[in-house]
């Protein structure tokens, strides 16, 4: 999943973006309002973490302009202002969640995950496909109670395809959701990652969970519903 972090404190943005990347997200960082707005409008992020006190353009105005441009990306506001009227203002401006600084990193992570589930209209943190059980909170995939040791990129790909199962997802979409703007993925990195993922999750003798649609992309096929 790809996130946008708009935060002008260099120390805080570095710490948070590092933590989010280590958690398996692709993270783009903007340190001022205008850059943040441009990036939010230019890409389809899975969620945006937005500070309110930004140079150049404050967070609420950024959010307002984002919504007016038609972008429905889920936004989590990050700010040191905890007064009720500030929270109300933020939520009414179009934010989906509000987190007051200082915050526990795990809480930020959990709220981001909740926003992403909301985007894909999924309420449970535990999803099931065939014999596989995916715990989106713990970021694990297990079969018969045994956790499969998936590297973070493979897990991110699996989770993304799972949340969009039944839909063909193009390579470029996968790239834009799995890699941030700093990464320069090689042209076949998606195919390579799909190949590696199939090796880990497919059961010999059964059709692959991830199907290729030539010229279009990949699709996760299954009739199983989320538990």
């Amino acid at each position: 999943m790809r996130l946008l972090l708009v935060e002008d404190s260099p120390r805080l943005s570095e710490a948070v973006s590092t933590g989010l990347r280590k958690s398996g997200y692709a993270v783009d960082v903007a340190n001022d309002g205008p850059t943040g707005l441009w990036q939010a409008q230019s890409h389809d992020y899975d969620a945006i973490v937005l500070d309110l006190m930004l140079p150049g353009l404050d967070g609420l105005t950024l959010l307002d302009r984002l919504r007016n441009s038609g972008k429905q990306t889920h936004v989590l506001i990050l700010t040191a202002r905890d007064a009720v009227e500030e929270r109300v203002k933020g939520l009414r401006a179009g934010a989906d969640d509000y987190l007051v600084k200082p915050f526990a990193f795990d809480e930020l992570l959990a709220r981001v995950e909740a926003l992403i589930r909301r985007k894909h209209v999924v309420k449970s943190t535990s999803l099931r496909v065939r014999e596989l059980v995916v715990d989106t909170a713990a970021r694990t995939v297990s079969r018969d109670g045994v956790v499969l040791d998936l590297p973070s990129r493979q897990y991110a790909l699996f989770e993304y395809l799972l949340l969009r199962r039944g839909t063909v997802v193009s390579r470029s979409e996968i790239e834009s959701h799995l890699y941030d703007s700093l990464a320069e993925p090689m042209s076949n990195v998606v195919d390579a990652t799909v190949y590696a993922l199939r090796k880990r999750i497919d059961v010999p003798g059964k059709t692959s969970l991830i199907q290729t649609r030539r010229g279009m992309g990949y699709i996760m096929v299954s009739d199983d519903e989320a538990r």
Binding site: S9, R11, L12, T18, G19, D32, T79, V100, P102, F103
Partner: protein, 475 residues
């Protein structure tokens, strides 16, 4: 001053006044009308008395005279059992004539007699106890032959008393008194009702005003009382209340802004520390990462330390009175000393310092505080001046106005409307608070240091793109 309500006091005083005025005027009117009535009554009595005296002056007094008088003056009611009465005494005091109405009720002695040109009217009590009012006249009866032969006509003088029982008069007067009392009472009652209703009605806007005021609290200070449609007396009150509310609103907003800003200033470095450390614990960094982490933690700690010191300085300046200092210091030396900590940053930003102050100009005050004051002014200039420009200092010496020091710098984004907020703690033109290391307390400290040192401070933009701080030491 009494705590009784204005309405009750107003009504009470108006009522007392109106009752008093009503009573006095009614009594006065009664007395006046009574006098008029008596005057007319007496005039009528006198006219009749003169007429009778005239008749008696020409007619012999004999037993037919009363009947003659009765017939001639029927309105005198001189007949038996009637209310008028007449009696004549001769100059020896003997009763020579009485009206039938006086049968058995003769007045024994002749009362003091008036003259035709100077009549006497008096109240008297008849022998049977009846009250009467009569006039007395002296007259000269017609001369008989003997008197005429004696040629002493002047010796015979009779006294005529003509009067009427007071019963009817008194009844009239009491009716008058009653009528005046009743009308006075009715008028007073009507006035009372009008006063009570009128005062209540006219003071109603005051009650409504008071109810509106009761609805204003700390959360509704943006409320303003309407000034149109109010009476002349309430309009200035409304205006002053609106001014007060505006000041309170601004003050509360300033406090809210300050609380929010303090929260932000304190929470942000804590959030930085927490996130840096949590991520490092979860995903231990490599060696260069550890070094960066330590450096970052140290920077944040230093910033928090500066912030806490600055806030404590502000609090101390506001709460602790500063004893008046008498030592004098060279201003040029103070400026040089205050500039030193900012020189490196000024070089980095390409700023030129043009503070050439001649030695020998002295100012009074605590040295440490003066240096802190000047350091904050110069520090603010260094941090906010447009890079590559000049920071200037100008000193003016005026005989009766003391020493004035003006420090100016170029500014790219400050506007005249920002001047009012410049002294507010944590206010910055750039809303983001994490750019650079300025705390947003510099000019608040300048204001408070200047106040503590009894120096007048002023922030101004003499022309677009130039910001200056003027400090004036009082002579």
């Amino acid at each position: 001053m009494s705590n009784a309500s204005i309405r009750k006091r107003l009504i009470g005083r108006l009522l007392v006044g109106m009752v008093a005025i009503s009573a006095i005027s009614n009594v006065g009117l009664y007395l006046y009308l009574r006098e008029e009535l008596l005057e007319q009554y007496d005039e009528a009595l006198l006219t009749e008395a003169r007429a009778v005296a005239g008749m008696l002056s020409s007619e012999d007094i004999d037993e037919d005279l009363p009947a003659l008088i009765d017939r001639s003056f029927p309105r005198m009611h001189l007949g038996a059992q009637e209310s008028g009465f007449l009696q004549v005494w001769d100059d020896s005091g003997a009763v020579v004539l009485r009206s039938p109405s006086l049968a058995g009720r003769d007045m024994a002695a002749a009362p003091t007699a008036g003259r035709v040109d100077k009549p006497v009217v008096l109240d008297l009590t008849l022998p049977d106890g009846s009250a009467g009012r009569a006039t007395t006249l002296s007259f000269q009866p017609p001369l008989d032959d003997e008197t005429a032969r004696a040629s002493q006509p002047a010796q015979r003088t009779c006294v005529l008393m003509l009067g009427e029982l007071r019963e009817e008069l008194d009844e009239t007067l009491s009716h008058l008194a009653l009528a005046l009392s009743l009308s006075g009472g009715a008028l007073t009652a009507a006035a009372v009702a009008l006063v009570v209703l009128g005062v209540r009605r006219e003071l109603k806007p005051l009650n409504e005003f008071s109810e509106q005021m009761a609805r204003v609290d700390a959360n509704t200070l943006a409320y303003r009382f309407a000034e149109t449609g109010l009476s002349e007396e309430l309009r200035p009150i409304s205006r002053r209340l609106n001014d007060l509310l505006a000041r309170l609103d601004e003050s509360f907003n300033r406090e809210r802004r300050f609380s929010a800003n303090v929260a932000h200033e304190l929470r942000t470095p804590i959030a930085e520390l927490r996130s840096m450390i949590e991520v490092a614990i979860k995903w231990p960094p490599d060696e260069p990462g550890v070094a960066r982490l330590h450096a970052g933690i140290l920077e944040v700690a230093q910033r928090m330390s500066r912030l806490v010191e600055a806030m404590l300085s502000l609090i101390r300046l506001q709460q602790t009175p500063v004893p008046a200092a008498t030592e004098r210091h060279d201003l040029a030396e103070l400026v040089v000393s205050a500039w030193a900590p900012h020189a490196a940053l000024a070089r980095e930003r390409g700023l030129e310092q043009a503070c050439r102050i001649a030695p020998g100009i002295c100012v009074t005050g605590d040295r440490t505080m003066l240096e802190a004051l000047l350091s904050n002014v110069l520090g603010n200039a260094v941090q906010h001046a447009t890079p590559g420009t000049r920071i200037t200092c100008d000193v003016a010496l005026e005989e009766h106005a003391g020493v004035s020091l003006t420090i100016s710098n170029a500014t790219a984004d400050l506007q005249p409307e920002d001047l009012a907020r410049l002294g507010e703690p944590f206010w910055r033109k750039d809303a983001a608070r994490t750019r650079g290391e300025h705390l947003g307390l510099g000019l608040s400290l300048v204001r408070d240091y200047a106040k503590a040192l009894q120096i007048d401070s002023r922030f101004a933009m003499p022309k677009p793109g130039t910001f200056e701080v003027e400090l004036r030491w009082r002579p």
